[in-house]
Protein backbone atom coordinates (compact mmCIF):
# COMPACT_ATOMS: atom_id res chain seq x y z
CA UNK A 1 0.00 0.00 0.00
CA UNK A 2 2.62 2.46 1.13
CA UNK A 3 5.02 1.45 -1.63
CA UNK A 4 2.42 1.98 -4.38
CA UNK A 5 1.80 5.41 -2.96
CA UNK A 6 5.52 6.06 -3.04
CA UNK A 7 5.73 4.94 -6.66
CA UNK A 8 2.82 7.12 -7.68
CA UNK A 9 3.88 10.14 -5.69
CA UNK A 10 5.90 11.84 -8.49
CA UNK A 11 2.89 11.66 -10.83
CA UNK A 12 0.49 12.75 -8.12
CA UNK A 13 2.63 15.70 -7.16
CA UNK A 14 3.01 16.82 -10.76
CA UNK A 15 -0.72 16.63 -11.38
CA UNK A 16 -1.31 18.38 -8.08
CA UNK A 17 0.96 21.28 -9.00
CA UNK A 18 -0.77 21.69 -12.38
CA UNK A 19 -4.19 21.62 -10.73
CA UNK A 20 -3.13 24.19 -8.19
CA UNK A 21 -1.70 26.41 -10.93
CA UNK A 22 -4.89 26.07 -12.98
CA UNK A 23 -7.10 26.80 -9.97
CA UNK A 24 -5.01 29.82 -8.95
CA UNK A 25 -5.18 31.29 -12.46
CA UNK A 26 -8.95 30.93 -12.52
CA UNK A 27 -9.66 31.97 -8.96
CA UNK A 28 -7.58 35.14 -9.13
CA UNK A 29 -8.44 35.79 -12.78
CA UNK A 30 -4.77 36.17 -13.66
CA UNK A 31 -4.20 37.84 -17.01
CA UNK A 32 -3.05 35.27 -19.57
CA UNK A 33 -0.37 37.70 -20.74
CA UNK A 34 1.18 37.50 -17.31
CA UNK A 35 0.71 33.86 -16.36
CA UNK A 36 -1.33 31.57 -18.59
CA UNK A 37 -3.06 28.60 -17.01
CA UNK A 38 -1.55 25.20 -17.81
CA UNK A 39 -4.60 24.32 -19.86
CA UNK A 40 -3.82 27.27 -22.12
CA UNK A 41 -0.19 26.19 -22.35
CA UNK A 42 -1.27 22.69 -23.35
CA UNK A 43 -3.69 24.09 -25.88
CA UNK A 44 -0.86 26.13 -27.37
CA UNK A 45 1.18 22.95 -27.50
CA UNK A 46 -1.53 21.28 -29.58
CA UNK A 47 -2.07 24.30 -31.77
CA UNK A 48 1.61 24.89 -32.52
CA UNK A 49 2.72 21.28 -32.42
CA UNK A 50 4.63 21.45 -35.67
CA UNK A 51 7.04 24.30 -34.83
CA UNK A 52 7.28 23.08 -31.24
CA UNK A 53 8.23 19.56 -32.32
CA UNK A 54 10.84 20.98 -34.66
CA UNK A 55 12.34 23.31 -32.05
CA UNK A 56 12.28 20.59 -29.37
CA UNK A 57 14.18 18.33 -31.70
CA UNK A 58 16.79 20.99 -32.46
CA UNK A 59 17.29 21.71 -28.76
CA UNK A 60 17.55 18.02 -27.97
CA UNK A 61 20.16 17.19 -30.57
CA UNK A 62 22.31 20.27 -29.98
CA UNK A 63 22.21 19.55 -26.24
CA UNK A 64 23.18 15.95 -26.76
CA UNK A 65 25.94 16.91 -29.16
CA UNK A 66 27.39 19.41 -26.69
CA UNK A 67 26.96 16.95 -23.88
CA UNK A 68 28.67 14.21 -25.88
CA UNK A 69 31.70 16.40 -26.47
CA UNK A 70 31.66 17.35 -22.78
CA UNK A 71 31.68 13.68 -21.74
CA UNK A 72 34.60 12.79 -24.00
CA UNK A 73 36.57 15.88 -23.11
CA UNK A 74 35.60 15.76 -19.43
CA UNK A 75 36.69 12.16 -18.99
CA UNK A 76 39.97 12.77 -20.78
CA UNK A 77 40.77 15.91 -18.81
CA UNK A 78 39.61 14.29 -15.56
CA UNK A 79 41.97 11.36 -16.08
CA UNK A 80 44.85 13.68 -16.88
CA UNK A 81 44.14 15.86 -13.87
CA UNK A 82 43.68 12.86 -11.59
CA UNK A 83 46.82 11.21 -12.94
CA UNK A 84 49.32 13.59 -11.46
CA UNK A 85 49.27 15.89 -8.49
CA UNK A 86 51.33 18.46 -10.35
CA UNK A 87 48.87 18.71 -13.21
CA UNK A 88 46.02 18.77 -10.69
CA UNK A 89 47.56 21.67 -8.84
CA UNK A 90 48.48 23.52 -11.99
CA UNK A 91 45.14 23.22 -13.75
CA UNK A 92 42.75 23.56 -10.85
CA UNK A 93 42.81 27.36 -10.47
CA UNK A 94 42.48 27.75 -14.23
CA UNK A 95 39.46 25.47 -14.29
CA UNK A 96 37.82 27.16 -11.32
CA UNK A 97 38.34 30.51 -12.96
CA UNK A 98 36.91 29.24 -16.21
CA UNK A 99 33.92 27.75 -14.45
CA UNK A 100 33.21 31.07 -12.75
CA UNK A 101 32.75 32.92 -16.03
CA UNK A 102 28.98 33.04 -16.70
CA UNK A 103 28.50 31.28 -19.99
CA UNK A 104 25.95 33.89 -21.13
CA UNK A 105 28.91 36.22 -21.43
CA UNK A 106 30.67 33.81 -23.77
CA UNK A 107 27.75 33.25 -26.13
CA UNK A 108 28.15 36.55 -28.06
CA UNK A 109 31.79 35.66 -28.67
CA UNK A 110 30.83 32.24 -29.96
CA UNK A 111 28.22 33.80 -32.21
CA UNK A 112 30.79 36.20 -33.59
CA UNK A 113 33.14 33.31 -34.29
CA UNK A 114 30.71 30.77 -35.65
CA UNK A 115 27.69 32.80 -36.73
CA UNK A 116 24.09 32.30 -35.71
CA UNK A 117 23.08 28.66 -35.75
CA UNK A 118 23.57 25.40 -33.93
CA UNK A 119 27.34 25.58 -33.38
CA UNK A 120 27.28 28.23 -30.62
CA UNK A 121 24.51 26.28 -28.87
CA UNK A 122 26.49 23.05 -29.00
CA UNK A 123 29.61 24.78 -27.74
CA UNK A 124 27.77 26.54 -24.91
CA UNK A 125 26.22 23.25 -23.83
CA UNK A 126 29.69 21.73 -23.89
CA UNK A 127 31.35 24.57 -21.99
CA UNK A 128 28.77 24.61 -19.24
CA UNK A 129 28.57 20.87 -18.69
CA UNK A 130 32.12 19.52 -18.85
CA UNK A 131 33.25 20.94 -15.53
CA UNK A 132 31.35 18.63 -13.16
CA UNK A 133 32.52 15.65 -15.21
CA UNK A 134 36.18 16.64 -14.90
CA UNK A 135 35.89 17.30 -11.19
CA UNK A 136 34.14 14.01 -10.49
CA UNK A 137 36.48 11.85 -12.55
CA UNK A 138 39.50 13.53 -10.96
CA UNK A 139 38.00 13.11 -7.48
CA UNK A 140 37.41 9.43 -8.13
CA UNK A 141 41.07 8.99 -8.96
CA UNK A 142 42.37 11.21 -6.19
CA UNK A 143 40.43 9.46 -3.44
CA UNK A 144 41.91 6.05 -4.19
CA UNK A 145 42.84 4.25 -0.96
CA UNK A 146 46.60 4.74 -0.48
CA UNK A 147 46.95 1.29 1.08
CA UNK A 148 45.49 -0.35 -1.99
CA UNK A 149 47.99 1.54 -4.08
CA UNK A 150 50.74 0.24 -1.77
CA UNK A 151 49.53 -3.33 -2.19
CA UNK A 152 49.78 -3.01 -5.96
CA UNK A 153 53.04 -1.10 -6.04
CA UNK A 154 54.67 -3.67 -3.78
CA UNK A 155 53.78 -6.19 -6.49
CA UNK A 156 55.59 -4.08 -9.06
CA UNK A 157 52.52 -2.47 -10.63
CA UNK A 158 53.19 0.55 -12.81
CA UNK A 159 51.10 3.67 -12.62
CA UNK A 160 49.22 2.64 -15.75
CA UNK A 161 48.37 -0.76 -14.19
CA UNK A 162 47.00 0.95 -11.10
CA UNK A 163 44.94 3.30 -13.25
CA UNK A 164 43.47 0.54 -15.37
CA UNK A 165 42.83 -1.98 -12.59
CA UNK A 166 41.68 0.37 -9.86
CA UNK A 167 41.55 4.05 -10.79
CA UNK A 168 39.30 3.97 -13.81
CA UNK A 169 36.77 1.38 -12.58
CA UNK A 170 36.66 3.25 -9.31
CA UNK A 171 35.75 6.56 -10.97
CA UNK A 172 32.68 5.05 -12.63
CA UNK A 173 30.16 5.92 -9.93
CA UNK A 174 31.59 9.43 -9.74
CA UNK A 175 31.38 9.74 -13.52
CA UNK A 176 27.82 8.47 -13.85
CA UNK A 177 26.75 10.61 -10.92
CA UNK A 178 28.15 13.66 -12.65
CA UNK A 179 26.42 12.85 -15.96
CA UNK A 180 23.01 13.45 -14.37
CA UNK A 181 24.10 16.92 -13.33
CA UNK A 182 25.92 17.61 -16.58
CA UNK A 183 22.98 16.78 -18.86
CA UNK A 184 20.71 19.26 -17.11
CA UNK A 185 23.43 21.90 -17.28
CA UNK A 186 23.86 21.17 -20.99
CA UNK A 187 20.18 22.07 -21.53
CA UNK A 188 20.77 25.34 -19.73
CA UNK A 189 23.71 26.08 -22.01
CA UNK A 190 21.82 25.31 -25.20
CA UNK A 191 18.81 27.38 -24.24
CA UNK A 192 20.89 30.35 -23.13
CA UNK A 193 22.67 30.33 -26.48
CA UNK A 194 19.43 29.89 -28.43
CA UNK A 195 17.87 32.78 -26.56
CA UNK A 196 20.76 35.11 -27.27
CA UNK A 197 21.15 34.29 -30.93
CA UNK A 198 19.75 31.45 -32.98
CA UNK A 199 17.14 30.69 -35.57
CA UNK A 200 15.87 27.44 -34.14
CA UNK A 201 15.44 25.62 -30.84
CA UNK A 202 13.17 26.02 -27.85
CA UNK A 203 15.19 28.95 -26.52
CA UNK A 204 14.69 30.74 -29.80
CA UNK A 205 10.99 29.85 -29.73
CA UNK A 206 10.65 31.25 -26.21
CA UNK A 207 12.39 34.49 -27.11
CA UNK A 208 10.33 34.85 -30.27
CA UNK A 209 6.97 34.05 -28.67
CA UNK A 210 7.82 36.31 -25.75
CA UNK A 211 8.45 39.28 -28.02
CA UNK A 212 5.07 38.59 -29.66
CA UNK A 213 3.33 38.39 -26.27
CA UNK A 214 2.27 34.80 -26.96
CA UNK A 215 2.60 33.77 -23.33
CA UNK A 216 0.80 30.40 -23.66
CA UNK A 217 3.30 29.46 -26.35
CA UNK A 218 6.20 30.56 -24.14
CA UNK A 219 4.95 28.32 -21.39
CA UNK A 220 4.31 25.46 -23.77
CA UNK A 221 7.98 25.67 -24.82
CA UNK A 222 9.10 25.90 -21.20
CA UNK A 223 7.12 22.78 -20.31
CA UNK A 224 8.64 20.89 -23.21
CA UNK A 225 12.08 21.96 -22.10
CA UNK A 226 11.40 20.72 -18.58
CA UNK A 227 10.11 17.48 -20.01
CA UNK A 228 13.24 16.93 -22.11
CA UNK A 229 15.40 17.67 -19.08
CA UNK A 230 13.54 15.20 -16.87
CA UNK A 231 13.62 12.52 -19.55
CA UNK A 232 17.38 12.80 -20.05
CA UNK A 233 18.00 12.95 -16.33
CA UNK A 234 15.99 9.76 -15.94
CA UNK A 235 18.01 8.06 -18.66
CA UNK A 236 21.29 8.85 -16.94
CA UNK A 237 19.96 8.02 -13.50
CA UNK A 238 18.99 4.63 -14.89
CA UNK A 239 22.40 4.14 -16.49
CA UNK A 240 24.04 5.09 -13.22
CA UNK A 241 22.01 2.61 -11.21
CA UNK A 242 22.53 -0.08 -13.81
CA UNK A 243 26.27 0.14 -14.30
CA UNK A 244 27.46 0.96 -10.82
CA UNK A 245 25.24 -1.13 -8.63
CA UNK A 246 28.29 -2.19 -6.62
CA UNK A 247 28.85 1.37 -5.51
CA UNK A 248 25.41 1.59 -3.96
CA UNK A 249 25.88 -1.70 -2.20
CA UNK A 250 29.35 -1.17 -0.86
CA UNK A 251 30.19 1.63 1.49
CA UNK A 252 31.76 3.68 -1.26
CA UNK A 253 29.12 6.12 -2.41
CA UNK A 254 29.26 8.33 -5.44
CA UNK A 255 29.57 12.05 -5.28
CA UNK A 256 26.82 13.63 -7.29
Amino acid sequence: MNSTLEKLSPTLFTIGIFLFWEAACRAFKIDRFILPAPSEAFMAMVQYWRPLAYHSFVTLWTTLAGFGIAVAFGIALGLVVGWSRTIYRGLYPVMIGFNCIPKVAVVPILIMWFGIGEVPAILTAFLISFFPIVVNVATGLATMEPELEDVLRALGARKLDIMLKVGIPRTQPYLFGSLKVAITLAFVGTVVSETVGANAGLGYQIALAGSNFQMPLVFAALLLLAFEGIAMYAVFAWIEGHFTRWAFRSSMSAAA
Binding site: E147, D150, A154, L155, P169, R170
Partner: protein
Protein backbone atom coordinates in the same frame (compact mmCIF):
# COMPACT_ATOMS: atom_id res chain seq x y z
CA UNK B 1 61.92 -19.53 -2.27
CA UNK B 2 61.38 -17.31 0.76
CA UNK B 3 63.27 -14.10 1.24
CA UNK B 4 65.64 -12.84 3.90
CA UNK B 5 65.42 -9.25 5.05
CA UNK B 6 68.27 -7.15 6.42
CA UNK B 7 67.43 -3.66 7.60
CA UNK B 8 70.67 -1.86 8.42
CA UNK B 9 70.67 1.32 10.48
CA UNK B 10 67.92 3.11 8.53
CA UNK B 11 66.71 6.65 9.11
CA UNK B 12 63.48 8.02 7.67
CA UNK B 13 62.20 11.58 7.82
CA UNK B 14 58.84 12.71 6.51
CA UNK B 15 59.17 16.20 5.17
CA UNK B 16 56.07 18.27 5.67
CA UNK B 17 54.99 21.89 5.49
CA UNK B 18 55.35 22.32 9.23
CA UNK B 19 58.85 20.82 9.42
CA UNK B 20 59.99 17.24 9.16
CA UNK B 21 58.96 14.26 11.27
CA UNK B 22 61.76 11.90 12.16
CA UNK B 23 59.94 8.56 12.02
CA UNK B 24 62.79 6.05 12.22
CA UNK B 25 66.31 6.45 13.51
CA UNK B 26 68.99 3.79 13.59
CA UNK B 27 66.61 0.91 13.05
CA UNK B 28 68.36 -2.40 12.54
CA UNK B 29 66.47 -5.63 12.07
CA UNK B 30 67.20 -8.98 10.47
CA UNK B 31 64.73 -11.60 9.38
CA UNK B 32 65.92 -15.03 8.22
CA UNK B 33 64.48 -16.92 5.28
CA UNK B 34 61.17 -18.45 6.23
CA UNK B 35 61.11 -16.76 9.60
CA UNK B 36 57.95 -15.35 11.14
CA UNK B 37 58.86 -11.98 12.61
CA UNK B 38 56.55 -9.71 14.55
CA UNK B 39 57.04 -5.99 15.24
CA UNK B 40 55.30 -4.39 18.20
CA UNK B 41 55.60 -0.92 19.64
CA UNK B 42 53.71 2.15 20.77
CA UNK B 43 51.36 3.88 18.35
CA UNK B 44 53.05 6.23 15.91
CA UNK B 45 56.52 4.78 16.45
CA UNK B 46 57.07 4.07 12.77
CA UNK B 47 55.97 0.47 12.25
CA UNK B 48 53.97 1.17 9.11
CA UNK B 49 56.83 3.32 7.86
CA UNK B 50 59.18 0.40 8.33
CA UNK B 51 56.88 -1.76 6.19
CA UNK B 52 57.00 0.86 3.45
CA UNK B 53 60.79 0.88 3.56
CA UNK B 54 61.06 -2.88 3.36
CA UNK B 55 58.73 -3.08 0.38
CA UNK B 56 60.63 -0.27 -1.32
CA UNK B 57 57.63 2.05 -1.44
CA UNK B 58 59.65 4.73 0.33
CA UNK B 59 63.42 5.22 0.19
CA UNK B 60 65.27 5.62 3.49
CA UNK B 61 67.32 8.77 4.11
CA UNK B 62 70.18 6.68 5.44
CA UNK B 63 71.06 3.05 5.85
CA UNK B 64 70.21 0.16 3.60
CA UNK B 65 67.60 -2.51 3.11
CA UNK B 66 68.70 -5.77 1.57
CA UNK B 67 66.27 -8.48 0.54
CA UNK B 68 67.70 -11.91 -0.33
CA UNK B 69 71.09 -10.33 -0.92
CA UNK B 70 69.85 -7.55 -3.23
CA UNK B 71 69.69 -3.95 -2.15
CA UNK B 72 66.19 -2.45 -2.33
CA UNK B 73 66.08 0.60 -4.59
CA UNK B 74 62.43 0.64 -5.67
CA UNK B 75 59.20 -1.29 -5.13
CA UNK B 76 60.25 -4.89 -4.51
CA UNK B 77 57.73 -6.50 -6.88
CA UNK B 78 57.49 -9.66 -4.79
CA UNK B 79 55.84 -8.78 -1.52
CA UNK B 80 52.28 -9.69 -0.62
CA UNK B 81 50.73 -7.10 1.66
CA UNK B 82 47.62 -6.92 3.81
CA UNK B 83 46.42 -4.13 6.03
CA UNK B 84 43.86 -3.53 8.75
CA UNK B 85 41.39 -2.49 6.07
CA UNK B 86 40.79 -5.33 3.58
CA UNK B 87 40.69 -2.84 0.67
CA UNK B 88 38.91 -5.17 -1.73
CA UNK B 89 37.67 -3.87 -5.05
CA UNK B 90 33.87 -3.74 -4.71
CA UNK B 91 33.25 -4.16 -8.45
CA UNK B 92 35.13 -7.44 -8.59
CA UNK B 93 33.92 -10.80 -7.38
CA UNK B 94 35.82 -12.31 -4.48
CA UNK B 95 37.79 -14.66 -6.72
CA UNK B 96 38.71 -11.84 -9.10
CA UNK B 97 39.92 -9.82 -6.15
CA UNK B 98 42.18 -12.69 -5.18
CA UNK B 99 43.45 -12.95 -8.76
CA UNK B 100 44.45 -9.28 -8.93
CA UNK B 101 48.16 -9.85 -8.15
CA UNK B 102 48.41 -12.42 -10.94
CA UNK B 103 47.36 -9.71 -13.39
CA UNK B 104 50.41 -7.73 -12.32
CA UNK B 105 53.23 -10.03 -11.26
CA UNK B 106 55.32 -11.93 -13.82
CA UNK B 107 55.30 -14.63 -15.07
CA UNK B 108 51.57 -14.93 -14.30
CA UNK B 109 50.84 -11.65 -15.98
CA UNK B 110 51.85 -12.81 -19.45
CA UNK B 111 50.00 -16.09 -19.07
CA UNK B 112 46.94 -14.63 -17.44
CA UNK B 113 44.51 -14.87 -20.34
CA UNK B 114 45.65 -18.30 -21.38
CA UNK B 115 45.80 -19.83 -17.91
CA UNK B 116 42.88 -17.98 -16.37
CA UNK B 117 40.91 -21.12 -15.74
CA UNK B 118 43.73 -22.79 -13.87
CA UNK B 119 44.45 -19.62 -11.88
CA UNK B 120 40.81 -19.43 -10.90
CA UNK B 121 41.01 -22.94 -9.57
CA UNK B 122 44.11 -22.03 -7.57
CA UNK B 123 42.30 -19.03 -6.14
CA UNK B 124 39.27 -21.12 -5.25
CA UNK B 125 41.53 -23.67 -3.58
CA UNK B 126 43.26 -20.95 -1.57
CA UNK B 127 39.90 -19.50 -0.55
CA UNK B 128 38.90 -22.94 0.60
CA UNK B 129 41.93 -23.22 2.89
CA UNK B 130 40.86 -20.04 4.68
CA UNK B 131 37.31 -21.34 5.03
CA UNK B 132 35.74 -19.49 2.14
CA UNK B 133 35.05 -22.40 -0.18
CA UNK B 134 32.12 -21.54 -2.48
CA UNK B 135 32.28 -17.80 -1.84
CA UNK B 136 34.35 -17.00 -4.92
CA UNK B 137 31.41 -15.73 -6.94
CA UNK B 138 30.11 -13.40 -4.27
CA UNK B 139 30.90 -9.72 -4.13
CA UNK B 140 32.97 -8.33 -1.24
CA UNK B 141 30.04 -6.38 0.21
CA UNK B 142 28.19 -9.65 0.69
CA UNK B 143 30.88 -10.80 3.13
CA UNK B 144 31.43 -9.97 6.79
CA UNK B 145 34.51 -8.05 7.92
CA UNK B 146 36.31 -11.21 8.99
CA UNK B 147 35.55 -12.92 5.70
CA UNK B 148 36.80 -9.90 3.76
CA UNK B 149 40.01 -10.00 5.74
CA UNK B 150 40.45 -13.65 4.76
CA UNK B 151 40.03 -12.65 1.12
CA UNK B 152 42.63 -9.95 1.62
CA UNK B 153 45.02 -12.59 3.01
CA UNK B 154 44.39 -14.78 -0.01
CA UNK B 155 45.10 -11.86 -2.30
CA UNK B 156 48.39 -11.30 -0.51
CA UNK B 157 49.35 -14.97 -0.97
CA UNK B 158 48.01 -15.98 -4.39
CA UNK B 159 51.25 -15.27 -6.24
CA UNK B 160 53.20 -17.29 -3.67
CA UNK B 161 55.22 -14.33 -2.47
CA UNK B 162 58.56 -14.97 -0.82
CA UNK B 163 57.76 -12.14 1.60
CA UNK B 164 54.47 -11.39 3.31
CA UNK B 165 54.01 -8.02 4.97
CA UNK B 166 51.08 -7.71 7.36
CA UNK B 167 50.22 -4.38 8.98
CA UNK B 168 47.75 -4.98 11.81
CA UNK B 169 45.69 -7.27 9.60
CA UNK B 170 43.42 -8.48 12.38
CA UNK B 171 43.06 -5.28 14.38
CA UNK B 172 39.51 -4.54 13.28
CA UNK B 173 38.12 -7.99 14.06
CA UNK B 174 36.37 -9.38 17.10
CA UNK B 175 38.37 -11.61 19.45
CA UNK B 176 36.98 -14.93 18.21
CA UNK B 177 37.38 -14.18 14.52
CA UNK B 178 40.84 -12.88 15.21
CA UNK B 179 41.92 -16.11 16.90
CA UNK B 180 40.40 -18.09 14.07
CA UNK B 181 42.48 -16.12 11.57
CA UNK B 182 45.62 -16.61 13.67
CA UNK B 183 45.16 -20.29 13.05
CA UNK B 184 44.50 -19.73 9.35
CA UNK B 185 47.72 -17.76 9.06
CA UNK B 186 49.63 -20.27 11.17
CA UNK B 187 48.55 -23.14 8.94
CA UNK B 188 49.31 -21.29 5.72
CA UNK B 189 52.74 -20.34 6.99
CA UNK B 190 53.44 -23.85 8.28
CA UNK B 191 52.58 -25.17 4.84
CA UNK B 192 54.35 -22.70 2.56
CA UNK B 193 57.01 -21.16 4.80
CA UNK B 194 57.19 -17.72 3.28
CA UNK B 195 58.96 -15.04 5.29
CA UNK B 196 56.52 -12.92 7.30
CA UNK B 197 56.81 -9.53 8.93
CA UNK B 198 53.73 -8.89 11.03
CA UNK B 199 53.03 -5.54 12.66
CA UNK B 200 50.57 -5.81 15.51
CA UNK B 201 49.43 -4.20 18.74
CA UNK B 202 48.28 -7.50 20.11
CA UNK B 203 51.07 -9.07 22.15
CA UNK B 204 49.27 -12.42 22.36
CA UNK B 205 48.97 -12.44 18.60
CA UNK B 206 52.70 -11.76 18.24
CA UNK B 207 53.60 -14.45 20.76
CA UNK B 208 51.27 -17.02 19.28
CA UNK B 209 52.45 -16.57 15.70
CA UNK B 210 56.02 -15.33 15.66
CA UNK B 211 59.47 -16.86 15.92
CA UNK B 212 60.96 -13.53 16.92
CA UNK B 213 59.27 -10.44 18.32
CA UNK B 214 60.92 -7.06 17.85
CA UNK B 215 59.90 -4.25 20.19
CA UNK B 216 60.21 -0.71 18.87
CA UNK B 217 60.79 2.44 20.88
CA UNK B 218 58.59 5.52 20.72
CA UNK B 219 59.23 7.83 17.79
CA UNK B 220 61.85 8.06 16.35
CA UNK B 221 61.52 4.30 16.23
CA UNK B 222 64.31 1.78 16.59
CA UNK B 223 64.42 -1.77 17.89
CA UNK B 224 64.94 -1.89 21.65
CA UNK B 225 64.43 -5.61 22.20
CA UNK B 226 64.28 -8.75 20.10
CA UNK B 227 62.65 -11.67 21.83
CA UNK B 228 62.86 -15.19 20.49
CA UNK B 229 59.72 -17.18 21.21
CA UNK B 230 60.87 -20.62 22.26
CA UNK B 231 57.42 -22.17 22.32
CA UNK B 232 57.29 -25.43 20.34
CA UNK B 233 55.34 -25.66 17.10
CA UNK B 234 52.70 -26.33 16.02
CA UNK B 235 51.12 -24.03 18.58
CA UNK B 236 47.51 -24.35 19.61
CA UNK B 237 45.19 -21.67 20.95
CA UNK B 238 45.23 -23.52 24.27
CA UNK B 239 48.95 -22.71 24.53
CA UNK B 240 48.00 -19.08 25.08
CA UNK B 241 47.15 -20.00 28.66
CA UNK B 242 50.41 -21.75 29.46
CA UNK B 243 52.68 -20.00 31.97
CA UNK B 244 55.57 -19.83 29.50
CA UNK B 245 53.34 -17.99 27.00
CA UNK B 246 51.99 -15.62 29.61
CA UNK B 247 55.51 -14.83 30.82
CA UNK B 248 56.51 -13.73 27.33
CA UNK B 249 53.43 -11.51 27.02
CA UNK B 250 54.22 -9.97 30.41
CA UNK B 251 57.80 -9.30 29.49
CA UNK B 252 56.78 -7.60 26.22
CA UNK B 253 54.14 -5.59 27.98
CA UNK B 254 56.58 -4.35 30.57
CA UNK B 255 59.05 -3.35 27.86
CA UNK B 256 56.46 -1.41 25.88
CA UNK B 257 55.24 0.29 29.05
CA UNK B 258 58.82 1.32 29.68
CA UNK B 259 59.44 2.79 26.20
CA UNK B 260 56.13 4.63 26.31
CA UNK B 261 57.22 6.39 29.51
CA UNK B 262 60.32 7.83 27.88
Amino acid sequence: MSASVEIGDVTLTYRGVSGGVLALKGTTLNVRRGEFAAVVGPSGCGKSSLMKLVTGLLPPDNGSIVISGAKVTGPVKIAGMAFQNPNLLPWRKVVDNVLLPLEIVQPYRSNFRREKKQYREQAEALLKTVGLGGFGDRYPWELSGGMQQRVSLCRALIHQPSLLMLDEPFAALDAFTREELWCVLRDLWQKIRFTVILVTHDLREATFLADTIHVMSARPGHIVMSKTVELPRPRELEDCFKPQFIDIVHELRAKIGEVRQQ
